[in-house]
Assembly symmetry: C2
Homo-oligomer: 329 residues x 2
Amino acid sequence: MATIYEVAKLAGVSPATVSRVFNGSTVSAAKVEAVRAAAKRLNFTPNRAARSLRRQESEVIALVIPDIENPYFTEMARGVEDVAQQAGYSVVLCNTDAQIEKEARYLRIAVAEHMAGVILAAAGEHTNLDDILSTGRPVIEVDRSTGYDIDGVVMANRAAGAAATESLVDAGYRRIAFVAGPQHIETASERAEGWRAVMRRRAPEAPLDELLHYSTFQVDGGREVMEQLLALPDVPDAVVAGNNLIGVGAIQVLTEHRLTPPQIGVAVIGSLPFTTLSPRLVTIVRLPARHMGVTAAKMLFERIGGDRQPARTVVLRSELQSATVARPR
Amino acid sequence: MATIYEVAKLAGVSPATVSRVFNGSTVSAAKVEAVRAAAKRLNFTPNRAARSLRRQESEVIALVIPDIENPYFTEMARGVEDVAQQAGYSVVLCNTDAQIEKEARYLRIAVAEHMAGVILAAAGEHTNLDDILSTGRPVIEVDRSTGYDIDGVVMANRAAGAAATESLVDAGYRRIAFVAGPQHIETASERAEGWRAVMRRRAPEAPLDELLHYSTFQVDGGREVMEQLLALPDVPDAVVAGNNLIGVGAIQVLTEHRLTPPQIGVAVIGSLPFTTLSPRLVTIVRLPARHMGVTAAKMLFERIGGDRQPARTVVLRSELQSATVARPR
DNA sequence: GTGAAAGCGCTAACAC
DNA sequence: GTGTTAGCGCTTTCAC
């Protein structure tokens, strides 16, 4: 690769001028022209490693997520990517598998690589951001909060849980189970709270403690709990899935048992990715994942640009994408 | 962040020695100990930007894919990530949206960032690797070939297309349509060839030209073509989907038309991600995407390690995951 | 085995 | 508006 010196020589200017041309400083039109021509001839691209070293900042942001195979997060990643691309940044996708150690490793790398900032969907409740924040690098939390006073974008989880439940109650179901994610993850417990509030009000006779089950945010988690629910002496007449993958698992099990909706009511918080289900049988409470990514990325670039206002949290509302039809009698 | 100089001072050695400790050169045990202690005390992490600049190579690899929202590619990414992580490398995920310009931009960045190598699922047929290959950086092609003489991992697409078709013929279907991806994409046409070969042999009366339809490798593509097929005067009795997303789209449309398998035969090349379908009704020809990622990453690290053997292409076989049951009479 | 020192390519402070 | 120059933090000769 050509360097700034070779370009300078060919254009008959100093290296500093070449740098200025590529960084938007004031350079006379004639020299700009000469430099651009020389750069093109030599197929010059600025060496980013050198630039990062010098500037103490690279044009890369880290997107740290717990599960790259969950379409909820890839949809979000997509939003982040689109904004970053436009800002001329690249995105390093860091998959933590919900493991705190992997997460810590990636955060360390982000610092060591002088990445411009981080968008983080925390692996659990013990994320330590002391080091990275002390470097002054901006971190935006998404989906889950970290306990630090930083910018963030979250879903209105309580409302989403409530909306899903409400839809099933409206359709005539009463013994509505809730399959939540891991208890220690905020999104999981908040959604469960939404369910609980609606149930208390509209199905006060239902035994909430029996109906609430914690699990993992994965297909297998949904399957496992659904099997348990079906084995109960008193099987629930409906179920709310705490996220998209739990929903997939639950529906798989129901299908295998020939118990498809509306024989049993099903509501899912989050979109059913690539569903082959006929719509209108299942309640879908859509979470605007792409929008979350876009919003987080925009906030991040504001911070990278030097914005110093107090930390903000944006709460994104869910949307009832399809509602369960009335329960058959 | 602490630098190598501060660590050196605290440990009472020279910066060079600190560097050696972190790069596995010969250093006396006592000094290794002192350096490690000092590094730990200062919470030292080597500055990767500086290292990259000096070594002309960073501990980052690029994974360039056409669609980050396609589970086939995220599954592959997962495989790549796992291998990279173990090798101490990070992965930059570059989503090209199947656009050649975005792809070119990412390849340029890979060079400018001194990335150690690239794993590339090409956007189309016009990928230009001249620049990046001239820098000596290894590029591994996956899923689709680029026309360059480089290492690669591909699926046995012809065989996959044949297996999918064969399964439907075995189940008693005869007028079997094929919904392929974009005509200019090799994976698409190869799979179609597999279908064609089986059809010629086992359903010679079928009008192949009418039954083959090119589309996009996306859900909407599958939907569109499926609608067209259903509108035909002479509706096919079965359909092979050229990839996972086409399969999803096709099944969605069929479901909406109340035409679920086995009323019409369906075979999908690739796994149905997060399917809520009852298994055993649809033929699934599984493609080992994760394995493709793992294999490609291993090859890449061999090259990064200095391997100079002639280019290799690994062909991965598909696997019949479920087979359509016999057609009802 | 260890230290001194040069230099990777760039940017920014300073001088003109 | 433009050139000179120092230095970002590391690795790697080259001496010893």
